[in-house]
Symmetry: C2
Subunit: 584 residues, 2 copies
């Protein structure tokens, strides 16, 4: 009996054979949780990241930064990761294998993750015992569950006390440097800073190929705004975008079906705490849709408080449907409030607040304590400077109260009496106030997005794989092919190849084998256009262009190729607009 | 007396203030060896990396891959890093500070690095004693020197025996996966695979800002070729390029002056072991020159055997001159031979060889040992399969020799006599052979290149900083500025801003303050073109474009802006070609 092969297996086979991705370190038996992106996968993944840059940064005038992966321990103490970034683990007492305890409960006892997420170690232990869960490998008994810190730990420099960690998110690199960044953009608010880079999570026992990785590319955008001014002026640009949302209240009733709401409705109904959250969710949907993932294969899940990360006051996961794993998170949208900046402020003692000037400067009258120097010096002599200094930090209200009650005020063992000071009224200008900005974070997993785009692009036509990738994320843009490898066709084709390279396109040249086999090869890696040089080319300087998805062909003058292809790849024109069809 | 401020300090100040780079984790006191790239620095650095992609990958039809930063221990055992990637260290017995011992000898005793590089621990110890070198911080005595492994160590997963390291180079990710990669490109040779990504080196006590980092971006290109076919067919494209090379033979005599040679001469004189080495050095020179670093501020240093990395059979460093540090390496060009693939082949037991078909299939006659089954089984009974198996690995020549000398052949304690075997002659087709490809590696430091580009772009004009970055690596391409922020000019300017954004440019909009101050601001971050909207714009739909470097202005129709700017940024036209100058 043939085992049925699912889409993940098919794509993995294609990906391994044609250079998209595969498990790393195969020659050493492979290491779970690590994948390598090959020639075409890396190019495609990079184009997806560039698309994020275009939609979320360039068009919004936000900025990308690049900070280190390794950070000293204090960063993650401040961020709450040392305390919270851990998972429950059990060890088989017989075979010594270690497992994620909550995953065992999900997989072997069918308990939903929204349940296991709220269990403490005691409850997990209890469930394992009650449900008689044993090691799935050898049937052995399990140890007591304990927490495992899922960050990679290392030492910075030769001193063993300088502990460092690999970052589990790129966000902290932005929070830690926020003070600088804010100055560099001339104190603009609201403002977004993003970081795209490798992140590390030392998963206990990762499986699921490209879905659960120990090292992956994270795309974190930290959007800072004034909590007293939470309106999103760009909302009108996305207000009719429809979002499919699984609401937390419905989930509690076991109802996981999404409600479809426009962004406008989401905001009006108060489903988001901050308008910007809905704005970024709409952009997230557009971004993921542009990768070729249909709208009805996407949804947003509103997270329960106990499912959210420690820093999150409200959170939605963006999920896409994948054949093997069902609904899989590809992005998270979290309202991080001032959690992170406050944490770093407390740990570092550096003021991370920003200054907001008032709309109009107001003045108010304040009492101030003014030392009477002569009288002080008469009584305190050489201690006068000390007394004057101490008086600076005394609140006039406290002073007056103390004078009234005791007739003096004691500060640093010195008795201040009314004759030492004068209380003056002063005009104080109220020019603004200091506050910690709040943060909305859209965060994407680049590897998962790339895998999802591959899964939805994977189609079979006439028994062959055609990878119908969106034009602008296809790793190779054009293939240039002489019809046969003789009669001057290769020379002409190389000329055209060189011209297209000089124009900045990503091009492959191939003259080996029958033309149909070559087309098949390029269909398999998703090249949208094949330019073929035939005998007619030598006569009239025209070439054929073949469309990957329809296999239709048109005929075009060589000189017009760059302009046509440039606009085709930017979705400014369609295939049919490029030239007259060829009758077969 | 004022301390004179060198270029590094000036650039650091600018970089910190305007968002290029600064030391990471400032709020926690900073951590040596880590820098953060801000909004404009990160963008500029990425453009430099994209330029590498263009010159070394897209135009040569080589590929980029992306593999993990963390690798299991065996990878670095095979690569020789566990054995070789270490530095001599001493500890001050009084203040406990640790130092690179060779750096101390260089800085405090003036010994050249080409000397310290060849010293062992004993010699280092001896020099420290003889030269009475004490702790530069507290004057204390030093410990015995010992080696410190300069890789970041961690654990993969929850098992303490699964040691992993942060990669000190991106190259190993390519070597480890070479077998797969080679199949994926349909067994093409020669072929190049590159990787651009973070690398980690746990330096003992890094200083020097962006020059010596513990975490940095490496650009590794591994070029694989057949050592029996080492010719570079692309050499003619670069043969007249001039390289300034400091030859090892001259360095031994203390002569560090470069000789200027064309690539053709370098090859003809046998200064490189493989033509490709000279080819890539020429591309390296073009690349670095295109970043704005003058040719006479670049040179190549031929490394002595003891200065080279453990894998290198020949190596040249590409250096640029920086004001504070003198000549600084920005790239290395090494002939890595088959060192790495061989290492992984031995460690993993996986055949990393490639198959080369012969030009024409030849046949030759070979003797083969054929077992006489009946006779063997009569004598050896149930041991027959074992005997047959053993005979498979016996060379017929050895067998015949042994029969002639002793009358029998002993294998696995069994005596084989002539009656057990038959020697037959067989036609063998020679279809090709298997070999390990050799490797040439150009490797660039992205952070250093970005810093060097900043240093050479940094100029003062009329007392203000103008960052004369090459157009194609400037982080922001265009600034759009209404002359004043009233009378409808901002509205018109925003329209133009939006049009340029839609065309794909990186644009800043700014209406705050006097126009001269705005120009100054954009000069400081190196924006090549400022587009200004004035009262005339409202009348005739023209705008002015201002050139950052000359401050000259031209007048241009709005509709022509995208096409002109597009070609200007690609160096297809010059500023003067864009429109008529404005008389001042």
């Amino acid at each position: 009996m043939m085992k049925s092969v699912d889409k993940f297996e098919k794509i993995s086979e294609l990906a391994r054979r044609r250079g998209f991705f595969w498990q790393s370190y195969e020659i050493y038996g492979g290491v779970s949780g690590f994948i390598s992106w090959g020639p075409f996968g890396a190019a495609m993944k990079r184009r997806i990241e560039d698309k994020f840059r275009d939609i979320f940064l360039r068009r919004l005038n936000f900025y990308e930064v690049e900070t280190p992966i390794i950070a000293p321990e204090r960063v993650f103490k401040a961020s709450g990761h040392i305390e919270h970034f851990k998972e429950p683990m059990v060890e088989c007492l017989k075979c010594k294998r270690k497992f994620r305890a909550d995953h065992l409960l999900q997989e072997l006892a069918g308990i939903a993750s929204q349940e296991t997420d709220r269990m403490g170690l005691q409850e997990i232990k209890h469930e394992i015992e009650v449900r008689k869960i044993k090691c799935p490998d050898c049937g052995g008994e399990f140890s007591e569950p304990r927490y495992f810190l899922t960050m990679f730990q290392t030492n910075i420099g030769p001193y063993s006390e300088s502990v460092g960690y690999g970052r589990p998110e790129a966000a902290q690199g932005i929070f830690v440097e926020f003070k600088r960044l804010y100055e560099q953009v001339r104190e603009r608010l609201p403002i977004g800073f993003a970081q795209i880079g490798h992140a590390l999570r030392n998963e206990i026992s990762p499986r699921q190929g490209p879905i659960r990785l120990r090292e992956f590319t994270i795309i974190d955008l930290e959007f800072f705004f004034d909590p007293e001014n939470p309106r999103c002026p760009l909302l009108s640009e996305v207000e009719d975008e429809k979002l499919r949302i699984v609401l937390a209240r419905n989930r509690l009733r076991g109802d996981e079906s999404p409600v479809e709401l426009t962004v406008k409705e989401v905001v009006a109904n108060g489903y988001v705490m901050v308008e910007w959250l809905a704005f970024f969710m709409a952009l997230g949907k557009r971004f993921v849709t542009s990768l070729g993932i249909p709208e009805d294969k996407q949804r947003f899940i509103e997270k329960h408080p106990w499912e959210r990360a420690h820093y999150s006051a409200q959170g939605f996961d963006q999920e896409v449907y994948l054949e093997r794993w069902g609904w899989v998170e590809v992005a998270g949208f979290n309202y991080r409030t001032d959690y992170d900046l406050k944490g770093h402020m407390m740990e570092s003692d550096v003021d991370m607040r920003v200054f907001k000037p008032s709309d109009k400067v107001t003045t108010r009258t304040e009492m101030r304590v003014k030392p009477k120097l002569q009288n002080i010096s008469r009584e305190f002599g050489e201690k006068t400077p000390e007394v004057v200094n101490l008086l600076k930090s005394v609140r006039s209200e406290d002073l007056i109260k103390s004078f009234n009650e005791k007739g003096f005020y004691e500060v640093g063992r010195l008795k201040i009496t009314p004759e030492h000071v004068e209380i003056v009224l002063e005009e104080v200008k109220d020019e603004g106030k200091r506050f910690i900005p709040h943060v909305i974070e859209p965060s994407f997993g680049s590897d998962r997005l790339t895998y999802a785009a591959l899964e939805y692009a994977y189609t079979i036509k006439d028994g062959r794989v055609v990878l119908k990738l969106p034009r602008d994320i296809a790793p190779v843009q054009i293939a240039v092919l002489p019809l046969v490898s003789r009669d001057g066709l290769p020379e002409k084709a190389r000329e055209i190849y060189k011209m297209l390279i000089d124009e900045g396109f990503t091009v492959e040249y191939d003259e080996s084998g029958y033309i149909g086999r070559r087309y098949a090869r390029f269909d398999e890696i998703g090249v949208p256009l094949c330019v073929t040089i035939d005998y007619q080319t030598l006569k009239d300087n025209t070439v054929t262009i073949r469309d990957r998805d329809t296999w239709r062909q048109i005929r075009v003058e060589i000189a017009r190729l760059p302009w046509l292809i440039y606009n085709y790849l930017r979705y400014k024109i369609n295939f049919e607009d490029m030239g007259p069809p060829i009758e077969k």
